[in-house]
């Protein structure tokens, strides 16, 4: 029984010492983000975000990503709209249509020569 008590005492001391060590090397900011020192590299620290930080940052990043996707879609739509305007202009102007037909004919001739 006595040996068992000593063993328990030693285990408690060990756990307390480790707990103190861990606490003394970590700090928590107002947002709940925890910064801890690497036990093997004293000049290296890591910051682990709190759940609220993680959620809010992911939300902001999600909005930014959506914005990028929308901007890219807008650019594609602008290109398509511009192409449509040009096509309509050519179709409505007989002079341009004739020129386009001549250019297409010349291009086809050049392509057949290169073959």
């Amino acid at each position: 029984m006595k040996k068992y008590s000593i063993f328990l005492f030693l285990i408690t001391c060990f756990l307390m010492a480790n707990n103190t060590f861990a606490q003394s090397n970590c700090t928590t900011n107002d947002h709940g983000d925890v910064t801890c020192q690497d036990p093997k590299n004293p000049n290296v620290t890591y910051t682990t975000p709190s759940v609220s930080t993680l959620t809010s940052k992911a939300h902001i990043q999600g909005i930014t990503d959506q914005q990028t996707a929308l901007e890219q879609q807008q650019q594609t739509l602008n290109k398509q709209a511009l192409q449509e305007v040009i096509t309509n202009q050519i179709a409505s102007d007989p002079k341009l249509s004739t020129q386009q037909a001549a250019i297409t004919k010349s291009l086809n001739a050049l392509q057949s020569q290169t073959k």
């Binding site: 890591y46 993680l54 992911a58 990028t68 929308l70």
Partner: protein
């Protein structure tokens, strides 16, 4: 009173004294001299120093010296401190972006967006599949390692690169940065591979002391190693 010792005991005493006085013995099989070459673990050294094994040293001249190794696991930032001005550093990183998309930001001396600093200026450009993106910004609170705030590393994908930085000649407070990296850019949902290069500078008001690598959202896991370029 007269002390008498047996011969065996005398031999034993002499042997013990010889053992204490003798220099440490070198294993002739592990160190070999061949002309002007020396081999350690090599019986026929082919160079001035031929080591057949791992060499451990605190540093080497005219080469890389490891300063710190970080092994982040699901963290949002890594900070390496105890840096010195006038030293040329190289930070190699190989990370996986977790939880959500995020872009990577670089900060010095704890001067981060939370402190409201505007001491950073940077420019970079990325080649993505069939497109190109670039950004220039000044008076910002970090150096962005993606072409713009609209580009980020896709969740679950790697980012690998190197950042070179050192203080300006004769100015311990200002830091010049060059970087190159490869990563999967979310790119509006297209998830395209990006090769990004850039440069930036930090014009602070204190000597270089630390560097911080942060992901804007989610967490990072992997390794980052800081070297001194001697």
């Amino acid at each position: 009173m007269k002390l008498t010792f047996t011969k065996n005991f005398q031999c034993c005493i002499i042997g013990f004294i010889l053992f204490l006085c003798s220099p440490p013995l070198l294993n002739a099989q592990t160190i070999t001299y061949s002309g002007t070459n020396v081999g350690i673990g090599s019986t026929s050294p082919g160079q001035v120093l031929d080591v057949q094994g791992t060499v451990r040293a605190l540093g080497y001249e005219n080469s890389l010296s490891l300063v710190a190794t970080a092994s982040p696991s699901a963290v949002s930032s890594i900070t390496i401190s105890s840096l010195s001005p006038g030293t040329r550093y190289a930070l190699f990183y190989n990370l996986i972006q977790n939880t959500s998309n995020g872009y990577y930001a670089l900060n010095f001396n704890g001067d981060t967006p939370s402190t409201g600093g505007t001491n950073y200026e940077w420019s970079d450009g990325a080649f993505l599949i069939s497109t190109y993106a670039s950004t220039y910004l000044n008076s910002t609170s970090y150096i962005n390692l993606a072409p713009s705030t609209g580009h980020s590393v896709t969740t679950g994908s790697p980012i690998k690169g190197v950042i070179y930085f050192e203080t300006w000649p004769g100015n311990n407070d200002n830091i010049i940065v060059n970087f190159s990296e490869g990563y999967y850019d979310y790119n509006g949902g297209n998830n395209t591979y990006a090769a990004n290069v850039g440069s930036g500078q930090y014009t602070g008001s204190a000597s270089l002391s630390s560097v911080t690598l942060t992901t804007s959202a989610g967490t990072m896991t992997g390794t980052a190693k800081l070297y001194i370029l001697n």
